[in-house]
Amino acid sequence: MAASVLHLRLLPSPPAGVKLQQRQLRSRIQRQGGLSRRFLKVVSYYGLTTPPYKLDALEPYMSKRTVELHWGKHHQDYVDGLNKQLATSPLYGYTLEDLIKEAYNNGNPLPEYNNAAQVWNHHFFWESMQPDGGGLPEGGVLQQIEKDFGSFTNFREEFIRSSLQLLGSGWVWLVLKRNERKLSVVHTRNAISPLAFGDIPIISLDLWEHAYYLDYKDDRLTYVTNFMDHLISWHTVTLRMMRAESFVNLGEPNIPVA
């Protein structure tokens, strides 16, 4: 399994000078909106990223078998499915996030959307967790949560409530809403991602049954509580908030850098 894992997730972008030349020589590419496969001898594929911890590192809150299946089978299948679809699709040549926005097509998703969004969502999910995670955030993140939810307990309860309200398969997110400039908890169905709405995701939780059925059967409440108390990686959240602050002006407080 390790041998097949590629760490290349994004297409390498050519330097600016090359692009100018390409624009003069290859106008067909402009019309297609991306790089055309036909003119390239080297073809890129999306690869499966590895979680930043061992597969059994999240025990006992997420068993090794669950992570093995969830990452090794489901996530891998989404990547393979996406690459297979892109072999014959005009949507070749985008970065993954641009592909999601393009394939979402303003609410009328194209066939590539599900696979692309699930690849991204799962990658985001693995990175949102860490062994010995959970607990409270620190510093600027905690202040921002208290500002937008009242208190950390309110945020925690709203996150749990949102996961129980979601019926069927989907995801629960802590997003930074661009227009309202505040954090908020949303849940989305199936593969829908807040990226498609222009918001910036900060935490994600997979509520498809394959994520928790082996460990918790239908007890979604315990799964979410364990995620909040023992699995969330607040370090990653801080990094994401720092990056998000460069897109959204939150005013005070400032998330401290390092």
């Binding site: 089978k73 129980l164 069927g168 398969s169 059925y213 059967k217 239908d218």
Partner: protein, 311 residues
């Protein structure tokens, strides 16, 4: 079990509580011979508060489900999800039996061969639908009625004149029954107290466009413990070893009987109207245009003079 009417699905009469979890018809252990250690679950172990309301209503699940579907508009009313899931799961348990599977019986096989080409063709379509259902949902074999309004209607498209079997997949809790029902656009009818009046009750019984015959649950909770992520193995196990073709065939027979009866019902109404009209001395249903009151239609002369090009 074979006499289960569509609208009588619900907890058995001997049970006092209206919303008790219905037991599977064969007992939990019997159906699990192909399923491994874990017994099948309905997934209905805890209902949230806003569905407590359901427990106070004496409606059978099917009516609740039809009424709260909100005709497929953006959001169904809150009880829909749970009412529909209860109905769907009940339907699903009754479609299976220990030692089931094998080939379907004669009459059903004839329908299958006519509508899918062959039994293998149907299995292939089933697998296609099950594997391409993204997220949670159900796969259905249903009888799609012809949907023509009157007994004597004949559509120029030959395949529209008779009902056929179709395989469909639905997301989350939706099933073909509510989907077909919503096609009749019962707008602006307040859902509950009107439904209890017998006219609408009967017309609901008659307004079927898709009558489910067989349900397969492809929510992940249905197969994850026994098959992990191998949905294909799960679906083929059901179709080869668990499905009760007798129940499917009995549902088909009842559906066809109801289709015939619906036409009978309409035909008798038309005949009754004709007889009444004759008894009152009118030879035609409508008065002739030259005698009696003028109708809103053009007279013969106007028709002859008007240009065929006018709209």
């Amino acid at each position: 079990m074979a006499s289960t009417a569509l609208l009588a699905v619900g907890p058995p009469a001997s049970h006092p509580a209206p919303c008790a979890q219905p037991a599977t018809p064969h007992g939990l252990a019997a159906a699990s011979s192909s399923c491994g250690e874990e017994a099948p679950r309905t997934g209905e172990s805890s209902l949230p508060e806003d569905v407590e309301w359901i427990k106070q209503q004496p409606l059978p699940y099917a009516l609740m489900m039809l009424a709260s579907f909100n005709e497929g508009r953006e959001e169904p009313h809150p009880p829909f999800f749970h009412a529909a899931q209860v109905w769907n799961h009940d339907f699903y348990w009754r479609s299976m039996k220990p030692g089931g599977g094998g080939k379907p019986l004669e009459r059903l096989l004839k329908f299958i061969n006519r509508d899918f080409g062959s039994y293998e063709g149907m299995i292939r379509q089933f697998m296609d639908a099950a594997l391409t259902q993204f997220g949670s949902g159900w796969v259905w074999l249903s009888y799609e009625g012809s949907g023509l309004p009157y007994v004597k209607s004949r559509s120029p498209i030959p395949s529209d004149n008779y009902g056929r079997l179709v395989i469909s997949k639905t997301p989350n809790a939706i099933n073909p029954l509510v989907w077909g029902h919503s096609e009749y656009q019962l707008h602006n009818i307040p859902p509950y107290y009107i439904i209890m009046s017998s006219f609408i009750y009967k017309s609901l019984m008659n307004l079927f466009l898709w009558q489910p015959l067989l349900a397969i649950d492809v929510w992940e909770h249905a197969y994850y413990l026994d098959y992990e992520d191998r949905r294909a193995d799960y679906v083929s196990a059901i179709l080869e070893k668990l499905v009760s073709w007798e129940v499917v065939e009995s549902r088909l027979t009842k559906t066809i009987a109801r289709a015939v009866e619906r036409d009978e019902h309409l035909r008798r109404r038309i005949l009754r109207k004709q007889h009444l009209a004759q008894a009152n001395g009118q030879s035609r249903a409508r008065p002739r245009t030259r005698q009696g009151r003028p109708t809103g239609r053009q007279g013969d002369q106007e028709v002859a003079r008007s240009s065929p090009v006018e709209a």
